[in-house]
Every structure is written in C-alpha cells, then in structure tokens.
C-alpha cells in the first residue's frame, strides 16, 4: 500500500507491505525491514537492523505528532491516491517542479532571480532575514523560474510560496 508522508513541507512516497508486526517499507529510495509492536495505545516499539526505537504517535488536528529519541516531528500521512487527487498531481506527478515556500516567518531582504531565469541546483534564489540572521535559500533542482511571488522588503509567513521553478 502506498502513502504520501509530508514532513517540514516535503512530500515523500512510502510503500508498505507485510503484516503481523513485520513490515517492509520503501522510503527515500531505501528499503527498511521493520519489526513493530504496539506496546500501549499510540506507543510503538520498532526494531530496525537491531536498533530499538520507541515512537510515541499521537493525533493532533489531523496530523501525526511523533516523539522519537529526543525529537518531535509533525507528519501528515495520506493514502497516495487520496493525496494525488487532493493535490491534482502533487509530488507523485513525477514532474521536476520545485516550490520554495518560506520555512520560517521573516522579511525578504534580497531576491536574486526573476521570471524566466535559468537556475542550477544550488543557485541562490533569495534571502530571508529572521531573528537577525540573513538566511540564504537555494534552488534544489535545475530549471526555469516560473514565478516570483515576493519582493525585497516584504514580510512573509511560514508556508508562503516565494518562488516556483519548472
């Protein structure tokens, strides 16, 4: 069964097979053999390559909040077909399309690209100032700048779409 997990604004496809506590998951191009037990409601014991993890999974406003190790992750999980319908193609569309959304609130101090520019992976797209630091954001893939939705001086909220690369 295929799922799409969205974490920190990134959508990843995850495939699950198996049953009775033994699963094989494919994510990020890797295959994970997992021995899972539910030890109490919402608390999973996972054994992966002999390493033991305890993951505390709770539901909060439709998202999964997972406590594992000393970290907390907020993850949206959807069955893949539903995700594709909802996003009209989404990440599973296979199209090299990059949407740069603001990962944090701040102020745009510099925009390095304009619509139509060809960019390489690693090229600077823009700079956001937040908490007194200038944070540079770079293209994740090569492509052409299709949209620039912000200009210098503009305040942005986390999640705002800033630049779209086709």
């Amino acid at each position: 069964m295929k799922f799409v997990a969205t974490i920190d604004g990134q959508a990843e496809t995850v495939e699950v097979t198996g049953d009775h506590g033994r699963y094989r998951l494919t994510l990020g191009g890797e295959v994970w053999e997992v021995d899972a037990r539910l030890t109490a409601q919402g608390i999973y014991s996972l054994l992966i390559d002999g390493v033991s993890y305890v993951a505390d999974v709770t539901d909060r406003e439709g998202a999964c909040v997972v406590d594992v190790g000393d970290e907390t992750y907020v993850i949206q999980v959807e069955e893949a077909t539903r995700y594709i319908i909802r996003t009209k193609g989404g990440a599973a569309g296979g199209h090299a399309h990059q949407v740069l959304a603001a990962p944090l609130p701040g102020k745009i101090t510099h925009v390095a690209v304009t619509v139509g520019d060809a960019v390489k992976a690693g090229d600077t797209l823009l700079v956001i100032e937040a908490m007194k630091m200038e944070n540079e954001f770079r293209a994740g893939t090569a492509g052409t700048v299709a949209e620039v939705r912000v200009q210098p001086g503009q305040a942005v909220n986390a999640g705002d779409v800033l630049v779209v690369i086709d």
Binding site: F3, I7, L27, D56, V66, D70, V77, L104, T124
Partner: protein, 502 residues
C-alpha cells in the same frame, strides 16, 4: 574621588541578559526598570523587573536601538544608571555619551574607550602599536566593493569579512574565493547594519584550524586593571559561539599569565574601565593573535563567574558607582571547570534556521552545580525579530571531565517542546570523543555536522515509518500484535504523556 550612588537601573536590553542584570540589581537592593517593544510585552524581563515601559514597534531599529527613547524612559522613571547588556547599543559610544549628557551613569566603559576598542579597526591599530601579535588584515574599514576586491587579492583567499562595529558573529562571513566576495560583502553589510546600526566592514586573513580563546578583564576607575583568565569559545556555528568553557583545555598557567598580561596592556592603553573581553585566535602551535576587544559583558560571562566566584554584573555596577575593585591580580584564583551551552531557537539539523514560535512545554535542568540563565518560560512565544538565544545552561565540575558529565546529564533533563532548539545538537557535541579530549578548533562543528545530520535523518525516517504504520493500522490493517496488558513502566509513560499536552 566621589562615589556615584546607583539606586535604580534601566536595563536597555531584552531576553536572558536583561533577566541576568535584573537579578544582579535585586541582589544588591537596586531597583530595575525594563523596556520592551510591542513584540515583548510578555517577555520574562518585563515580568521580572520592578518597572517596565514600552519603547515602540517590534523592529529593534524602532525600539531597542533608539537612543532618545531609552534615555527619555530612564529619566522619566527616575533611574540613575543604564545597563546596556550585550548587543543592541552595548558598544555604541553615542549611547554612552547620551546617557552621560542626561546625567545617567552608563554601566560600561567611557565613550572614548568604546570608540577606541569598539571600532575593531581602531583596536587593531592600538594592538599593533603595543606590539601585541595579530592576524594580518586591514587597519581601516573597506569603502567600496572595488577597494575590497583589491585588498582581498593582497591578503589572499580564504579571508574573513568582519563588521567594524561588530561582535557575536553578526556581519561576519568567510570568503573562500573571489567570486563569493561581492555577495558576502552585501550580506555582511546588511547584517552589520541591522545588528549594529553601522554597516562598515573590514577584511582579515583567515587562520586555518584556530581556537577562539578570550580573556575577561575588569578595570576600575582607580587604576586597577586585572584579568579573570580565559574562556575557550571554539565550538561555533556560522561564526557564532555555541559552547564555551573556562578554563580552556589548552591553556596552562604560564600561557594564561601571558594572554592576561597582553589583554591588560591593551585595556590600559585604551583607558579602559569596567568589564571587557579581549579576544584572541590561538593556532595549533598555541601562538595567540589579538582579534578584537568587546567593550561589554559577554554572553558567556557565567563560565568565568563559576570558576572565579566573582559576580561580573555586580562588579560592573560597583565599578560604575566608582567604587574601587578592592582586590588585585594575586587575589584571583580559579577553581574547577565550567561549561556553558547556548540554547537557541534554531533547527540545528535544518541548516540552523531560526525557529520562532510558542513554547508549549518547558522543563529546565536543575540539580547540583547547574545554573540556567533564561529569558523563556512555558507558554512564551519567541518573537521573530530578535536574536535566537533563549537560555544558557551552565554547569560547574571539579574538573573538565566532571563538568562534561554534568552537562550531559543537564542537557538530558532540559526539555523544550513547540519549537526547535539547539539542545539535541549540544547533547551530541558534549558526547563527542574529540570534545571530551579537548581536540577541536572553530572548524570542529562544521566538520562533525554532516555525520550528526545523517543520524538525525535516520531518526526522521523512523518517525515517518511510525506515522505511516499508525495510518496503515487506522485504515483497517489490524496486523500488529495486540498490546500486552498494562505492565509498562508507569513513570515513563506518565512522563511521556506529560509532554504530549502540546
């Protein structure tokens, strides 16, 4: 000499340092006045001070950096002194002058000393005259990009761009090759302008694998200048310190005396008064080079307090009141080892991006020889306008090993929920064998981050697996074995649940 009575202090700052100064005032029976921007009405320093007054909109340039507003509030509140903390206007001579002109005691050095030392290029000229060794670079700020390019070619790459009026890593950039110079200059100038109200920068040769070691000095108005030993501040990211300790694992008594003597010489030459810090780079052969003087209290001052037993903020206030220090260099003794970890609202495994937001859960570390200097509390919303520093966790141990063990324990106790912080990466650094062995330079963190990040990537994948399996179950694949009867460790589960109330 007349003594100036200080009875009420305006703290021209915010966050943990404002809280630190308020505490020192309270311990000496001095009243405290806080100031706050519109983003800081609920900040801890406002809650803790005796009085608090608004000073304008959230951007620091319209509030914490506006000299006239601060002086007006100080006068209206009947304060007789102003403590600037660090950052903001702490190293701004015009602010010190404005305080003096309004009849307020500025808790810091005289304006002339701030000018002489606070301007890094002027400080470099003084150090050169005194024959204190230093790193090659410009003795004047660079005026234009063209001039910077010409000078950069002379110095050679890689080089450092530094803010002339800077400190704390702001406005500082490493430039590896000429093609990066222009963009780096622009970002350094922007950062310097935003942080210090002055965008002048200078260039300095880059020293490979250096340690950053600084010396704390105290100088009173009666001619006593002494040093309180060194702080090792080599664990840095983006040129900003993350972990500091005293003593340094590489400095012995003889080297401490030599560095301390050089620091005091520079302070005397500049007519320095109050607390200050002389920063040095130390190369792998233990040669030290003068870097700059910070004419203020440092973020990392607590490690010096822990090993010397001297309350630096109290001494700052006494010196400002024109009291003599009352002790000499021979009276300074160092005992044990202290370490400080900076807990910042940043995502260490997400490129150190700032992580403003609401702290939904907070449990600070406590226990034997643990000190927490914090500006945060549970329910507090970290604004996006200011520095990411939330709190400092400081421990003392009889020796360095004991201090590391104690810090490991304290970091494990410290929980912050709701925003990302540096706690997980701090825990991994103090557990690193090279850190424990004292084998590191300012490059250390950059070097080990890829390995730490990939470990974190694995944890992230495990979280995704757990979330997907939970959804798989929910969709009717009841394939997981039934949970065993309730025999789990109730304390542990109860504790975990406590942290789920997000």
């Amino acid at each position: 000499m007349t003594m100036r009575a200080i009875t009420k202090v305006l703290v021209a700052n915010r966050g943990e340092i404002a809280v630190r100064v308020i505490r020192a005032c309270r311990e000496q029976g001095i009243a405290s006045v806080a100031v706050f921007s519109e983003a800081d009405r609920e900040a801890l320093h406002v809650l803790m001070a005796d009085e608090a007054y608004p000073i304008g909109p959230p951007p620091a340039t319209e509030s914490y950096l506006v000299i006239d507003k601060l002086v007006a509030v100080a006068k209206a509140a009947g304060a007789d002194a102003v403590h600037p903390g660090y950052g903001f206007l702490a190293e701004n001579a015009a602010f010190a002058e404005a305080c003096a002109a309004a009849g307020l005691v500025f808790v810091g050095p005289p304006p002339a000393a701030i000018r002489a030392m606070g301007d890094k290029t002027a400080a470099r000229r003084i150090a050169r005259e005194l024959g204190v060794p230093m790193v090659p670079g410009t003795l004047e700020p660079v005026a234009s990009d063209a001039e910077a390019r010409a000078i950069a070619r002379e110095i050679g790459f890689p080089l450092m761009i530094k803010a002339a009026m800077g400190g704390g890593g702001k406005g500082m950039r490493l430039v590896r090759q000429e093609s990066e110079l222009e963009a780096a200059l622009r970002m350094a100038r922007n950062e310097a302008g935003a942080a210090f109200g002055d965008s002048a920068v200078y260039l300095e040769r880059y020293v490979a694998e250096p340690r950053h070691i600084e010396v704390q000095i105290l100088a009173d108005r009666h001619g006593t200048v002494l040093h309180l030993g060194e702080r090792e501040c080599s664990i840095q990211r983006r040129h900003q310190k993350l972990i500091e300790e005293s003593p340094s694992p590489v400095v012995d008594a003889a080297m401490r005396a030599r560095m301390g003597e050089a620091a005091c010489r520079i302070a005397r030459a500049a007519g320095y008064v109050n607390a200050g810090t002389v920063e040095f780079l130390v190369d792998p052969e233990k040669n030290f080079y003068f870097l700059e003087v910070n004419t203020r209290l440092q973020v990392e001052h607590p490690v010096t307090e822990m090993v010397t037993g001297i309350d630096l903020v109290r001494e700052q206030l006494r010196i400002a009141a024109e009291e003599p220090l009352g002790y000499s260099q021979a009276d300074i003794a160092w005992r044990g080892a202290a370490i400080e970890c900076r807990i910042n609202a940043e995502d260490p495994f997400g490129g150190w991006l700032p992580s403003p937001g609401t702290i939904t859960g907070l449990r600070a570390a406590t226990g034997p020889w643990v000190r927490e200097d914090s500006g945060a509390y549970e329910g507090y919303t970290v604004p996006r306008f200011y520095d990411t520093l939330l709190a400092k966790l400081i421990v003392w141990g009889a020796d360095r090993g004991a201090a590391i063990d104690r810090m490991t324990r304290a970091l494990a106790e410290y929980r912050i929920v709701g925003i990302r912080t540096t706690i997980p990466v701090l825990a991994q650094i103090v557990a690193h064998e090279d850190f424990r062995a004292g084998r590191f330079s300012t490059q250390f963190l950059d070097r080990i981050m890829p390995a730490l990040t990939s470990e974190r990537g694995r944890l992230r994948s495990v979280a995704v697996i757990a979330a997907v399996l939970a959804e798989y179950e929910r969709l009717g694949h009841r394939t997981l074995p039934e949970p065993p009867p309730a025999t789990q460790d109730a304390w542990r589960l109860g504790h975990r649940r406590g942290w789920r109330r997000a």
